[in-house]
């Protein structure tokens, strides 16, 4: 590698970045907007869920149970006189669930026990329905405990589950979504940055002039990689700052590990972009391929939002070739758990393999020839 030629190529690319607002926009404005949009738009924490409360025969017992729902921050209950009205409200989507106490609730509860509390949830959004059911169970369990205390007899159930959640005790979905988002967004941006710029050189005919110059393929590729690497790292830094400052995600791990992993990941994304544009040689096609092959897989197959273990096995195998999968896992660990080396080392090794694969492939399929 000739230092003068490399410096010339890098300076050219840097000047182009500075003069062309679109690269800057992709690197800085896009993560900013996307992170805000996703950060605020994507939340799995249900709050103020509208529910219907129906007591066929209201008593002190029933209102005791209902007051538990009224005090919970998760619910916004409305009382309905009968099931007909409550059902209609559920059908029209005004409430997401109905809590129904039969006329004999009080008598059974005070007598033999095991009085049924009817819960009807709208199962259309299955995930949401399960989360709501979980909240309802919580209210019900604390009501049982309160009842037992009132009567002076301890609550006796065979098995009591004590659960403890590590790394994210409050189960704030932001805390895991935001680090995952950074991975998704940087996949897209890294690939888009390089995919478009190399294709642009082919389109404008500047590539032919470069090819006919003494610069080697390695120099041309490194000359592309270095400026966009720094640009991408800038976007990454912006995303991390936003995660910490705007979304208040705690960073438990150390910053230098984070940036080491980010650098490695960025190489895979840039390498993929280079590969796409080397194959496509056309900005439109390159942009299309970049969108389809980076954004969607990173979104769906990275484990960022959907659990990988639960996928059918062919898709599970597919996730192994997606760099974002490793970066999502690394980021969630670094942000929430800290420098857990067994996890990080495994992921970094995978990222390194993918990065080397992309970069070597690009170098091998690019010749200084036009055919």
């Amino acid at each position: 590698m000739n230092r003068q030629r490399l410096r010339g190529l890098i300076r050219k690319e840097a000047l182009q970045i500075l003069r062309d607002p679109s690269s800057i926009a992709i690197a800085f404005v896009m993560p900013f907007v996307l992170l805000l949009l996703f950060g605020y738009g994507v939340s799995l924490d249900a709050r103020h869920v509208p529910i219907a409360l129906v007591a066929a025969h209201p008593t002190a017992q029933t209102s005791g149970l209902f007051s538990g729902f009224r005090q919970s921050p998760y619910f916004r209950p409305r009382t309905y006189a009968d099931m007909v009205a409550a059902r209609r409200a559920l059908m029209k989507g005004r409430v997401d669930a109905i809590i129904w106490l039969r006329p004999d609730f009080t008598r059974t509860a005070l007598g033999g026990g095991a009085a049924p509390v009817g819960v009807i949830a709208n199962g259309v959004n299955a995930n949401n329905a399960r989360i709501i059911e979980g909240y309802i169970q919580g209210v019900w369990a604390s009501w049982l405990a309160a009842q037992a205390r009132e009567r002076g007899q301890p609550l006796v159930v065979p098995v009591d589950v004590r659960s403890r959640v590590w790394f994210n005790p409050a189960l704030r979905s932001h805390d895991y979504l935001v680090p995952g988002l950074i991975a998704v967004i940087m996949t897209l941006i890294g690939a888009l940055l390089t995919a478009l710029v190399v294709a642009r050189e082919w389109e404008r005919g500047t590539m032919e002039a470069l090819m006919a110059s003494p610069a080697t393929i390695t120099e041309i590729l490194v000359g592309k990689l270095v400026p966009y690497f720094f640009l991408g790292m800038g976007g990454m830094a912006l995303s991390v700052v936003m995660a910490i400052v705007v979304f208040a995600v705690p960073l438990v791990g150390s910053l230098w590990v984070l940036f080491l992993c980010a650098a490695l990941f960025l190489l895979t994304a840039l390498g993929m972009g280079l590969l796409i544009s080397t194959i496509a040689r056309n900005q439109f096609v390159a942009g299309m391929i970049a969108l389809v092959t980076t954004y969607l897989p990173a979104f769906i197959l990275s484990g960022f939002i959907f659990d990988i273990h639960s996928m059918p096995w062919p898709i599970r195998i597919l996730t192994h070739i997606i760099a974002a999968r490793y970066f999502v896992s690394t980021l969630q660990t670094l942000f929430l758990a800290g420098d857990v080396w067994p996890v990080i080392a495994r992921n970094m090794a995978a990222l390194a393999v993918i990065a080397v694969f992309f970069l070597v492939t690009v170098a091998r399929i690019s010749h200084k020839r036009l055919d």
Partner: protein, 576 residues
């Protein structure tokens, strides 16, 4: 320096490409040499293989057979060695548009390893040579077309190469910039140690080369100094004059088998006889012998090699000068922001005339043309086409006009038939009338063999025919042609003008812009634009007469163009 050692040596070079499952031969056994101190011209029609040859010489493509040695390096074994020392300027030279002229030079200086110490002197020399000195800090995208080409050349020369490969450096450049580019190239060759290989579509440029290669279908048809080509044509070129306009003479002459070629020029027609043919006696036409040109030899060799027969220009009666005014423009202006691109021009075009709009790059002729076709609304002024106010009733005006753009805008993924059928329907033709016009297009333009071929897969000449037939499908009264022959080889250009002349003879008004000054001679009336206003208007003879000086008593259209525009620009500079 041993002037006999060739800098570039091609021996029986062959190259094929795979295109859509078919092997296409681009270069079929080419051998030639480039020696120091000479300019070797590569001439041939489109698709002859000129660009492929250039890329082969630069080591960007490898030959399938044969060998290429450039500066002692074998292109197969040591392409990197060639690229170290050769200067190559691709057809669309890759200037980085968002870098300044100086930054572009710096990049190529870095790439070619020009030491920092040597740069100053080299830059100074290049900027003086190209006249780009004052524009060093301007972004490349803000340079005019001609300046871009000069900057591209300067970048190629930043490390003085011993072998220079230039692929159509003058294409799409106005006559003034073309002259300047040739001055630089000639000066370089005159130094004696550099060999230059240049491809070009302008046949008059062949005369400036020391050695010419005539390429066709990937083969070298002929090679030698341009004088040799001319010598073979001695005694076969004449200038025909008569009382009728040149176009009418041309139609008469081309119907006679004795003639090989006829081109309207000045106030008559320049004709070339077939080998061995006798000059026939045509009543009313006087023939005077003229010296042969390179182009005469080119046409002869290509007519012999090409299976495509010359299209017979329809022998129609001379244009019936209808008194109807087809285009009337009064005080037309167009602003782009604060910039006034067209500064209050007025003109009128009468029916059945061929009206030419000329101008340098950026003179405002494209803007004017787009306003005339209704593609761009004027900022002020009145504009009627075929008696209809374009701004008030655009649809009615459009139904009477045909338009063919420089890019031969066709739907590339649609077949010839589908393109024609669509435009026929778009102009509201239906039923039997539509079928009849489609048949006409197929017959008149010989499109039947390609009826189901995608427009993208047509050769350039046929694309041009299809574009013209689409523009004429509704029998417009006026036809707008925007640089209709750019990139098309001389033979296809002749055929095209044959058709245009026939159309004019039928009474269709033609409005045309062009970069080829020789084509301006086909026009009945001309308007020469510069810096947004009309500089000169009149018949070709009148325009030429305005550039007459004691030193140049009989200027060509090219001379007139350069002289008038340079004078006007100088005046404008003084005024500002």
């Amino acid at each position: 320096m041993d002037t006999n050692t060739p800098l570039l040596d091609l021996q029986d070079v062959r190259k094929t490409f795979r295109a859509g499952g078919v092997r296409v031969t681009a270069v079929a056994g080419v051998s030639f040499m480039v020696r120091p101190g000479t300019i070797t011209g590569l001439l041939g029609p489109d698709g002859a293989g000129k660009t492929t040859l250039m890329r082969l010489c630069a080591g960007l493509l490898l030959p399938d057979a044969g060998r290429i040695t450039a500066l002692g390096f074998d292109s197969r074994a040591d392409a990197a060695g060639i690229q170290q020392s050769v200067g190559y300027m691709p057809q669309r030279f890759g200037l980085y548009e968002d870098l300044t002229a100086q930054e572009n030079l710096d990049l190529y200086a870095d790439l070619h390893g020009v030491p920092k110490a040597a740069r100053r002197a080299r830059y100074e020399e290049l900027l003086r040579l190209t006249g780009l000195g004052p524009f060093g800090r301007r972004l490349a995208r803000d340079l005019s077309g001609g300046m871009k080409q000069k900057l591209g050349l300067a970048c190629t020369l930043v490390h003085p190469p011993r072998l220079l490969l230039l692929d159509e450096p003058t294409v799409g450049v106005d006559p003034i910039s073309r002259r300047e580019l040739w001055l630089i190239i000639s000066a370089l060759a005159a130094r004696g140690d550099t060999g230059i290989l240049i491809s070009t579509a302008y046949l008059d440029e062949a005369e400036r080369c020391g050695h010419v290669l005539l390429v066709h279908n990937g083969e070298v048809l002929d090679q030698g100094p341009p004088a040799d080509f001319r010598a073979r044509m001695t005694g076969r070129s004449f200038f025909a004059t008569a009382a009728v306009p040149g176009r009418a003479i041309q139609a008469r002459i081309m119907s006679d088998a004795a003639f090989l070629d006829a081109v309207v020029q000045r106030d008559g027609v320049r004709v070339v006889m077939r080998a061995g043919a006798q000059l026939p006696v045509l009543p009313g036409i006087a023939f005077a012998p003229v010296p042969p040109r390179f182009e005469d030899a080119f046409v002869e060799r290509l007519r012999a090699a090409s299976p495509m027969p010359p299209a017979p220009p329809a022998a129609a009666p001379p244009a019936p000068a209808t008194s109807e005014v087809m285009v009337e423009v009064h005080d037309l202006r167009r602003f782009f922001g604060p910039f006034e691109a067209v500064r209050g021009i007025s003109l009128r075009v009468e029916g059945g005339r061929i009206f030419g709009l000329l101008g340098a790059n950026g003179a405002g002729k494209t803007t004017t043309f787009r306003m005339l076709c209704g593609l761009l609304p004027p900022s002020s002024g009145t504009l009627t086409v075929a008696g209809i106010d374009v701004r008030a009733a655009p649809a009615m005006a459009r139904a009477r006009m045909g338009y063919m753009s420089q890019k031969f805008s066709l739907y590339g993924d649609l077949s010839v038939a589908q393109n024609l059928a669509f435009f026929a329907a778009a102009y509201g033709l239906r039923g039997a009338r539509r079928a009849e016009r489609l048949r006409w297009a197929s017959d008149a333009f010989e499109l039947a063999p390609f009826w189901n071929t995608n427009a993208n897969d047509l050769a350039l000449g046929f694309k041009q025919r299809l574009a013209l037939s689409c523009a004429l499908i509704h029998e417009p009264k006026i036809l707008f042609l925007d640089e209709p022959t750019s990139g098309v080889d001389p033979l296809a250009r002749r055929e095209f003008w044959g058709r245009i002349n026939a159309l004019a003879a039928e009474g269709v008004t033609i409005m045309v812009t062009t970069h080829f000054m020789e084509e301006a001679e086909y026009c009945d009336d001309l308007v020469l634009m510069s810096l947004g206003s009309i500089l000169a208007a009149g018949t070709p003879a009148e325009i030429r007469a305005r550039a007459r000086t004691p030193e140049r008593p009989d200027p060509t259209m090219d001379d007139a163009f350069v002289a008038l525009i340079e004078a006007h620009e100088a005046q404008a500079r003084r005024a500002s």
